[in-house]
Amino acid sequence: MTIGGSDKLDLTHYIIFAIVKIALLLFILLTAVAYIVLMERKVIARMQNRWGPNRVGPFGLLQPLADGIKFILKEDIIPDNVYKPLYIAAPMIALILSLVSISLIPFGGDWKIAGYHIPLEATAFWNGAGIQDINIGLLIILGITSIGVYGVALSGWSSNSKYSLLGSLRAGAQLISYELALGLSLIGVLILAGSLSLRQIVDAQSGSILHWNFFGGFQFVAFFIYIMAAYAETNRIPFDLPEAETELVAGYHTEYSAMKFAMFFMAEYCNMVTVGCLATLLFFGGWHSPLDGLNIPVPGIWLLVSPLFWFFIKVFFFIFLYIWIRGTLPRFRYDQLMAFGWKFLLPLAIANIVVTSFVVALRS
């Protein structure tokens, strides 16, 4: 990682802070994932006019814990004739990659604790003058998500079963195709911000709600494309063909059980969180409050909390959107999926780039 002016940096401090931050982040994230699952089940149940889990603890709040225990204690079955090294490696790849990408997400400015400036981002640090983060954070996230394919593909292939193979083939094709649309949809935002660093992108949107890319930057088309592609990337309904129960049992993780299965499961939800965070950062002003423009007097402590508050609100909204859509939409047919990706989203994204660049060029 390029560390500008490394002499200003005390390496040991950096490493210590980083470790602490990562640990915190992991804990929060995994808990969040667990409770997102619970929330999903509840909401879906409501939408289908059921109760959902409500036995374990009050309102079933301990359900995730129970699930976790069950996953851990279950027997770990490894079928014969699987290609073992990859069969074991695949879920780890999936989970690790999805966890790594979260480490590039900035949640807010920085906290000053005991004379140390601590940026709310796992990989950023205070270089004396300001917050130094990765210049190409966005690209790295894209890279990581693009590598995420391997987890899916290899799992399907290594478990040596036709359902899994079909599922992973579908996943591979789907991910490659929608990655293009995803990447292109972001370029409009990049043009507006003139940078690849997530922080700078967010700062470019500071000010009132009207400066957010979604509204001020007229990037709602891009946002639409991004969400579609992201859903496909995360194999969520309506693009969940790789794990279409009705067709392929459970798709690429048919042969998995216990903790390995849990890894895939967590990876999927982590990715959902990442997508939500990205959407927030790129289109909805990150941690900036929509009320920034009209300065309402607020207590100082609030200034400390507000970025996190707004950020999580927004991410929560996107998680909810996921669940909402899952409860609403049917699944695509495979050819429809491809046609939609290649013939609709891709041209639309390109058109969006052209228009945006024209606008920017005219404005400057």
């Binding site: 990682m1 390029t2 560390i3 500008g4 490394s6 390496l11 290609y83 090294p85 990859l86 210049n135 190409i136 690209l139 790295i140 894209l142 890279g143 990581i144 693009s146 590598i147 394919v149 391997y150 593909a153 290899l154 399907g156 292939w157 193979l165 992973s168 083939l169 591979g172 094709a173 991910l175 490659i176 990655e179 990447g183 003139g194 690849l196």
Partner: protein
């Protein structure tokens, strides 16, 4: 210091992955070790201050090209390769030639007479803007030509892979 450590780490990963690529008999393993090599190379790019190439390395190579390879391997269900005896020329001529080639390279590169600069981390750092400017100013024509090349490649791939109906 830091640079040396990082370099050694990633170079080690590179060589190890490449050797693994060479020694593995199963295409999938080779492919995976190649991906590892590419990731390590991306890290080396970062050390050399080429961050955009690093990212593109990961996205394009690891994320697209290699996925394509793995995809094809899965599609054709390529198993462990059988050790057939093809022409002996490869081993008789090729290996010695290769060794000579590498020896020459090593000799020239490591010779003190090749005045190679030595680099810090970040003493030459190319911001993405600079790269973009270079690409769209002085290298505009090659850029356009490559776009044409890609178009042709796409069409060629489609034509070749289409299963002709009888």
């Amino acid at each position: 210091m830091l640079h040396t450590i990082l370099f050694l780490i990633f170079a080690g990963i590179c060589v190890a992955g490449a050797l693994n690529f060479l020694l593995q008999h199963h295409p999938v393993n080779s492919a995976l070790s190649l991906i590892v090599v590419m990731g390590a190379l991306a890290a080396l790019f970062l050390l050399l201050g080429a961050e955009f190439p690093a990212a593109v390395q990961v996205i394009v190579y690891a994320g697209a090209v290699m996925v394509l390879f793995v995809f094809v391997i899965m599609l054709l269900n390529a198993g462990v390769e059988e050790q057939t005896r093809g022409s002996r020329v490869a081993s008789i001529l090729g290996i010695p030639g290769l060794i000579v080639f590498f020896a020459l390279m090593y000799w020239t590169l490591s010779a003190p007479r090749s005045q190679m600069a030595s680099v810090h981390i970040g003493d030459y750092y190319v911001p993405t803007q600079a790269l973009g400017i270079a690409l769209f100013r002085e290298f505009l024509l090659p850029f356009e030509v490559t776009s044409v090349l890609i178009l042709i490649a796409i069409m060629g791939a489609v034509v070749l892979a289409r299963r002709e109906r009888h």
